[in-house]
């Protein structure tokens, strides 16, 4: 597997560790892209691309899923865990 564009994995890993910064994905993604040195040519894909577009950039699969969830573009249906856990 080749490498993802510079900064992308570090950016998503930062958002895992610092959840409050995830709001920037929608409010000011350029702030994140610039902070982590993400090349400008991949900014449009990160902003609006789907799973397959992100996978084509060689972004690790688990990080693809996280980015899409935080961006409001989840690949599987979201559900409340209480649907199950309330039946324990």
């Amino acid at each position: 597997m080749g490498a993802a564009p510079p900064g992308v994995h570090a950016m998503i890993e930062h958002l895992i560790a610092v959840p409050q910064d995830r709001a920037l994905i929608r409010s000011s993604p350029e702030t994140l892209f610039e902070r982590f040195g993400v090349p400008k040519d991949v900014w449009p894909v990160l902003r609006t691309g789907g799973r397959d577009d992100l996978a084509a950039l060689r972004i690790q699969g688990n990080l693809v899923i996280k980015w899409l969830i935080w961006s409001g573009r989840p690949t599987v249906a979201v559900f409340p865990i209480s649907y199950y856990f309330d039946r324990r």
């Binding site: 994995h9 890993e13 397959d52 990080l63 693809v64 899923i65 856990f85 324990r88």
Partner: protein, 270 residues
């Protein structure tokens, strides 16, 4: 010497029930059945083998095989999971760390650690009151290359040896494995489930052919069961701890809406 009083494996995710309510219910009931069986064994501690989803580990600093050594863990809280703390077992965890390292194998402590759904979904089903001290043992399949099935098998053998040789007399240990079965994560094949592969994998365990798992290879697992299917290395490690014990299937459902095959087994411990 301690005793492995129970061994179980199951997929470690849940999904939206919509459109597959009947299958979702079967999965949920199967997971709860495993939970009942674990609690009935009244274990002193639970060792839970799984892969993290990069919520506690970084690609730039790989820790392929790691163990949580803290006295307590607060969940990471992904998937909206509850944040209630659960107890660890530092004595067991640090002892196993030393046991493995003395044998020249690679195992690292991970601290801090906030276990994600890979641990917390099964744990909150098995032990919803968080009464059983739990040791998270990670075989992290998110790296490329990831630990091989042979490495997972060897780790499991050492875990079994450690419990039987180095733990206190009559300590009751349940080992669980989580993850799999076939699924593809964050790639174009996501949503595919290879039920035939899942069935074959489960059949190996049901027939007690555990040692065959050591010879699997990650390239073929990735090809046939997906990048997420690599998580079955946790099941391989568990089988390595109890190499001659066959398993009984508790549940299996292909769940394309959840993008995964969902399975659960209970081993017969002699």
């Amino acid at each position: 010497m301690g005793n492995i009083v129970g061994a179980f494996a199951m997929s470690h995710v849940l999904g939206a029930p919509d459109g597959q309510e009947e299958q979702a219910l079967k999965v949920w009931e199967g997971m709860q059945e495993i939970g009942r069986q674990v609690r009935a064994l009244e274990p002193d501690l639970l060792v839970y083998i799984t892969s993290d989803h990069l919520n506690n580990f970084r690609l730039s600093a790989p820790q392929p095989i790691a163990i949580g050594t803290a006295a307590a863990f607060t969940p990471y809280g992904d998937m909206g999971l509850p944040l209630e703390e659960f107890p660890g077992h530092p004595g067991f965890a640090r002892g196993f760390l030393n046991f493995v390292q003395e044998r020249g194998s690679n195992l690292e402590a991970v601290d801090p650690l906030r276990p994600d759904h890979g641990v917390v979904i099964p744990l909150d089903i098995v032990d919803p009151q968080h009464r059983i001290p739990t040791v998270p043992l990670y075989i992290n399949m998110v790296y490329d290359p990831a630990p091989s099935p042979a490495e997972a098998w060897a780790l499991g053998r050492m875990l079994g040896d450690y419990i039987r040789e180095a733990r206190p007399q009559a300590e009751r240990v349940v080992i669980m494995a989580g993850g799999g079965l076939s699924h593809w994560i964050g790639v174009p094949e996501e949503g595919r489930v290879n039920a035939a592969w899942d069935e074959a994998f489960l059949r190996i365990l049901e027939e007690g052919r555990n040692a065959e798992l050591e010879a699997l290879d990650n390239a073929s697992i990735r090809q046939d069961a997906g990048n997420g299917g690599l998580e079955v290395s946790s099941w391989v490690a568990l089988a390595g701890a109890i190499p001659s014990s066959p398993a009984r299937r508790v549940f299996y459902e292909p769940m394309p809406g959840w993008a995964t095959g969902m399975g659960g087994i209970a081993f017969h411990i002699a």
